[in-house]
Every structure is written in C-alpha cells, then in structure tokens.
Symmetry: C2
Subunit: 432 residues, 2 copies
C-alpha cells in the first residue's frame, strides 16, 4: 500500500462487495484504515459503514467532515442511519441533520426515538401496505406501476384506515392465486408482530422460532411502524453468541482486534485488576498455613494441582450453564435437577481424579500420606466446583448480572480458595 | 407431569409451535423426554425433530420404531431427512427406506451422498426453474396453475436445457415488470452459486457477505442441484459462534445440558485428564526449586500469583485472536503487526501490575527483596503470556488444529510454567 500503487488498489476496492471491503478494514491496522478509507469510492461509504463493527465505525465517522457523513448516509437503511447519527458529537449531528432532506430527517428522528437495542431501532420503514378490500389484480397492477420493491420484501402488510395491522400476504400467494381474489380472503391474519420496544435478542428468538425472512413491527396500538429483515437478525444472533465467549475472558463484544496497544491495555486492566484481588485472596489463604509450608516443601510443590483441576471442572460446568441460560434451556423449573446432575458429575470426577492423582503422588513422593491428602482435597474441590458452576451463574442471573461476564472469575476464585484451603488444611491435620 | 394431567398437557403441546416444543424437550430431563414425546401429536414429530440438537435427536430416534420414523420424516426437508436417516442403524435404515415412496427414496439417496457438513447436505431440492426464452406473462400463468410455491421462495432460477444455471429472477421483479418482458431480459446473471461440496461455514459466510435469503447450489458442471435458505444458515451461524466458547472449555458444541451424569463425566474426562498432565508439569517445575521452598514459606505462599495473572492475560489475548481467526480478520498478512501490538500490551500490563504487586507484597511481607522477585517475574510472564496468546492459536491453525479446542489449555499451561519458573528462579537467585 505504501509503495504508491494507489490507482491499482482503488480499482480493486471499487470492484469488491462492501462486505469484503469492510472485512479488509477490520483486518487492517489503525494507521492503514484512514488511507484505505480515502481510496474507497465515496458512493460505497454508506454500505461499508453498515458492515463495520461499532468500534471501527465510530473511529471512521469521527474523522469524516459533516457534509461527507450526510452524503454517505443518504439511502442508508433507517436502522443504520440512527446508529451512525447517534454516535456523532452534538455539533456535528446538527450539521449533518441540516444537510439532509425533510423525509430523511423525519426517518432519523423516528429511529432515534427508540432504544439502541430495541426492535424499533432495527426496523426499516420502507413497507408496502395493502387494504383488505381490494383484489389481487388491483394490487399487481399497483405494484407494476410502483416499480422495484424494497429489498428483501417477501410479505406485503394488510392494514386498515388507521394503519392497524390486520395481516400479511406473501408475494408467492399474490402470484399463485386467482386475480379476482380479494386480499381479505388470502391474507394470513395470525401474524405475531414484534413490538417496537422489544429487545433485539427477543427479536432474534422470534425469527428463529417462526423461521422468518421479515416481520412487521407495531406500536402499542397495533399500528404498523415498519419491518425487520432477517439479514439484520443474523448480525444479532452472531453478536449474542459471541458475547458469552468474549465476556468470559473479560473482553467487550465489539472489541477491535487491531486497536492500539494503549487502548487495549486500558480496557483489559479492569479484568486483570479483579484478578489481582482474587490472586491475593488465594495467597492469603496459603498464608494461613505458613506452618505446614515451612515444614514441608513437598506440600508447596503440590499445592497448585488441586486448585487447577477444580478451576477446569468448574469452568466446564459454568460454560454449559451459561449457554443453557442464553438459549433459554435453563430456568427455575429445572435448576434443581441440573444441580443434582452436576453434583453427581462432580462426585464421579472427584473419585476418578482423586484415585489417579493419589497414586501418582504416592509413587512420586514415596509417601502415601500425601496421596491421602491430595485425594481428600481433590474430591471436595471437584464437588464444590460442580456446585459453583451451577449456582454462581444462576445467582448472578437472579441479580440481573450477566453470568458470562462475572461468572468465570468468580468460579475460578472460589475453586482456587477451596482447593488451597482443603489441600493445605488436610495436610496440616495429617502431616504436621 | 406426573400428576396425571396428560390430556391437558397433550392439548397444550398441540397448540405450541414446533420451536417451542423442541425448546421444552431440550429443557427437560432425560427421563421426562420420552413421556413428553408420547404426548406430542405424531403429525408434528417431523417438524420437532428438525428443531432439536443432534444429541437429543439421536436419542429420540433410537427409541422410535421404523414405521413411525418413516411417517415422521415424510415431507421433511431433504437436508433434515438426510441427517435423520444418516443417524439410524443400518437395519432400521433399510426398513425405513422400504416404507418410503420412490420419490422420497431418491431424494434421500441424493442427499446422503454429500458430506454431512457440506452445502449439498444443507440444500433442498424443491426449486422452481424457468427457461430464458419465455415471457413473464407465461411464467405467471404457469405459477398460478402450479399453486403454492415452496417455502421461503424469493428467487426462481433460470436454466438451459441441461439444467445449467444461467441466472435468477426475483418474485419482486416478476411482479413489477411488464408481462411481455422476456425472462432473459430481466434475469440477474451475475449469480455466484454455491458448490455442493462447499463447507457449511463457507455457506454461512456467503450468505452474510451478500445478505441473501436463498442461494442456488450447483454441481461441478454448473448444473442446478437445489437451493439453501437462510433459516438453515442461521443455525450454522449460531453453532459456529458457540463452537469457540464450548471448545475453549473442552466441551462439544452439541453437548446436551441435561445429559445423564455418567455420560457427561465420560465426555469431560479427556479435558480433565489433559489438565492433570499440565498440573503435574507445573508441579515438577516447582519441584526443581525445592531448596528455596523449604527455606522460605513466604515464597510458597506467593508463588500462585504470577501464574494466575499470566493465565488471565494470556487467555484474553487468545480469545481475541480466536475470534479474529473465526471472523477471517486475522491471517498471515497482519499476524506480525498483531504480535507486536499484543507484545506492547504485555509490556504495559507487565509494568503496571509488576509495580502494583511489588508494592503490595513489600508492604505485606515487609521485605523489598520479595517485591523485586515478584516484579521481575510478573513482567516476564505478562510479556510471555501476550506472545503465547498470539502465537499458539496461529501455530495451531497452521497445523490445522482447532485453536479454540487446544489453545486455552496450552496457553494456561505455558503461563503457569513460565510464571512458576521465573518467580521461583528469581527467588532462588536473590534470596537463598
């Protein structure tokens, strides 16, 4: 890129679909991104902005001048429009707004009135509506006059004189039924519309439940506001599923892999700071057993094994429960059964690894007493790890804290402390 | 359920959409599932089977008799059909096949000829094809005669006399253009079709890239075989995104949260067994420093802090890189930049936490020598953790090993060993 082959790169960028250009920007270093952005066809700017993740979108928009932003977002879907404008500083926002057409201004103001993670912010307002008392033939002639349909239109919505949603008619039905049929005879009236204030993860579940391509959005009175299409839902589903993994490592979903080092250090320091607390807590547990540690170096050598096994077992259970909660499989009704099952897994795991490690350690250190110490503490810690793996996420959920965010550190801290306490405690009782 | 209100439950189950019944089955204990299954309307069995995750689907199919299986899968999409039949024992499979219609038999055999995770196994064969040399009016009259279109049809495919795919026409275009237009004038010929042997994660990326509702699947000669619809792709996207999280804890994607304890214990034991090896390796590192440990109990008390911090920092970097690889953001071209950036984050983190922990420990233990020991080892381990977080997943990927599966244990083992080695080594040099 630095070798001056700008013309060549520019041509290449113009011929790529916006998804690929966005991928290229996401994969680039922060310093290369503005250069690439300059080389992209300004007509494509809007489409590409839609594809980018929030962190990167924000940093690019901050560099653009207001008129440029206004022209880039022209023709953008109203959901993306709202996002872009919502992230602008107030002064730039006003400038952009004043350079927009009246119609666009209205669309933006409406979209911005909804919560960022609601169905209202996801929907598009370009919907074709029909009245129930017209014939299919009339509709077909109207559509032919109107020309191109909005992207990903699979349904036309039937509304009354007050825009109240009565039902929907698929394009397929319009095509296959007799031209003199009235819309009221063929419209599907058992439509479960989305409410504008529903959370986006509910929207995603609604789409998965009914295997939809698009769904109508209504206000509190059942009046049609717009529609959501499956391509936006796919993004939500991916983000929701990624959210758990990123949170478990204390990272933000939208974290830019190529963010500058200073920014990354700052973001990750909260999590590391919490872990300092957890590690010092574990050290203070060991501190309680200074006597046995000063008597027997072997105990110090072996004391990391039990916490380590407990951490792995606890996090296995935790991961399963977090996914179960996210998918809606785990709730109050089956929590007790799950606790019993995982406790049993803990008992089995405890017996198996207590036996194996006791044998290994007895042979290694030539002293069966140490084998007994590790067996006892391993069994207790595996059982406690299983219980913590179920109870910690369920309790966090009760207090409306995201189990994926806080769960893994809490479980690990718990198994570290229990592991050290039982191992060093049993060692003190048996060996000192 | 055990109180005998079967009639009531049966009625309730009949009125729920199959997605919700499947959710109920997934949330039930293994012993309740067969009872629920008996209460479900047999006509719904096929639809519900399609919604279930593999583990549960398998266990239910094993309990059904062959004729029942045959009737349940009647009318199932060919992709699900192939999956269900593929998981039957050979004798039952033959029985089911013999009770099917010739047409279904053909569909099954074709679908089974593709790899389970390929586009061929995902596709449906119910496609409407057109010739380029007919007018829109003729097509509309043909569709009206034919009646209902296959579910989620948004495109009709244009083929020549040898079924070679020439292009596609959307229902919207059919409706909005003049009736005397020829199909060849309106068909979109720049279609990038999927190949039957493409992997399902490539299919998902193709759908996300072009924001599709359906896509045609062709064979090696470009002949149309079927089409894939977005509802099946949504499942793949969710599974792909969940895969990383589950693998990082050593769990299988399709692991049933409510599997019996014995089965769960067995599945998780491989991962715990690997961790035994890792924990013993760490203990053997401590064993090398028996001298200092027997001299100073304080060293034993503090020796878990540095490995713990390194583990957290290493796993943060690892998670980010694994997600970057999965999304296609991280590759050979930017790996070196990323390594440099994460190394810098490691240096920053090392400096920050070395300073903080050295102060805490100096105050706590009243000896600045120990503070220096922890500062030096913390700095080294944080830097090594960052390097391992980038290099381990990239190396695993080179060797075609899933970084999510092996990465987290490898990074943690590495940071444990380096942490113990530097801490105990520095302590030996400075304090003994």
């Amino acid at each position: 890129l630095t070798s001056g082959m700008y013309v060549h790169v520019r041509q290449m960028l113009h011929s790529l679909p916006s998804f690929d250009v966005a991928l290229l920007l996401e994969s680039s270093t922060p310093s290369a991104r503005p250069v690439l952005w300059q080389l992209i066809d300004p007509d494509q700017h809007g489409d590409i902005l839609e594809e980018l993740s929030e962190d990167i979108k924000d940093s690019i928009i901050q560099e653009m001048d207001p008129e440029h932003v206004a022209s880039a977002i022209e023709g953008m879907d109203s959901d993306d429009l709202a996002y872009v404008l919502g992230s602008l500083p107030e002064s730039v926002y006003q400038q952009v707004l004043s350079s927009m057409s009246e119609q666009d201004k209205h669309r933006v103001e409406q979209a911005l009135s909804y919560d960022e993670e609601s169905a209202g912010a996801m929907m598009n307002t370009d919907v074709i509506t029909l009245r129930p008392d017209v014939s299919v033939d009339v509709v077909l002639r109207y559509l032919r006059l109107r020309g191109e349909l909005p992207q990903r239109t699979d349904m036309l919505y039937v509304v009354d004189g007050h825009d109240k949603l009565l039902g929907e008619v698929s394009l397929g039905d319009l095509i296959t039924c007799q031209p003199d049929t009235m819309i009221r005879e063929i419209h599907e009236s058992e439509v479960a519309p989305l409410k504008a204030e529903q959370h986006d993860s509910e929207v995603a579940q609604h789409f998965e439940r009914y295997e939809l391509i698009s769904a109508p959005v209504v206000d509190a009175n059942g009046c049609l506001l717009g529609r959501i299409t499956v391509d936006d839902v796919v993004d939500i589903i991916r983000e929701d599923a990624e959210h758990s993994m990123m949170s478990m490592a204390g990272l933000e979903d939208e974290e830019d892999t190529f963010a500058p080092a200073a920014k990354s250090t700052q973001r990750r320091s909260i999590w590391l700071g919490l872990n300092v607390g957890a590690a010092l807590l574990a050290a203070s547990v060991s501190n309680m057993f200074e006597d046995i540690l000063s008597q027997l170096a072997t105990i110090a050598i072996l004391m990391t094994i039990v916490p380590s096994m407990g951490g792995v077992a606890g996090n296995q259970t935790l991961t399963l429960v977090i996914r179960g909660i996210a998918l809606g499989h785990v709730g109050d009704s089956n929590a007790r059964w799950l606790l019993g099952k995982e406790a049993l897994v803990g008992v089995f795991n405890g017996l198996i690894w207590a036996t194996i490690l006791a044998s290994v350690v007895t042979v290694w250190k030539g002293d069966w007493h140490i084998g007994v110490v590790i067996a006892v503490s391993m069994f207790v810690n595996m059982l406690m790890a299983a219980l913590a793996g179920v109870l910690v996420p369920l309790t966090l959920k009760k207090f409306k804290i995201d189990p994926a965010l806080a769960g893994s550190m809490m479980v690990t801290t718990f198994t570290d402390i229990i592991g050290l306490f039982t191992f060093l405690g049993t060692a003190t009782l048996m060996l000192s």
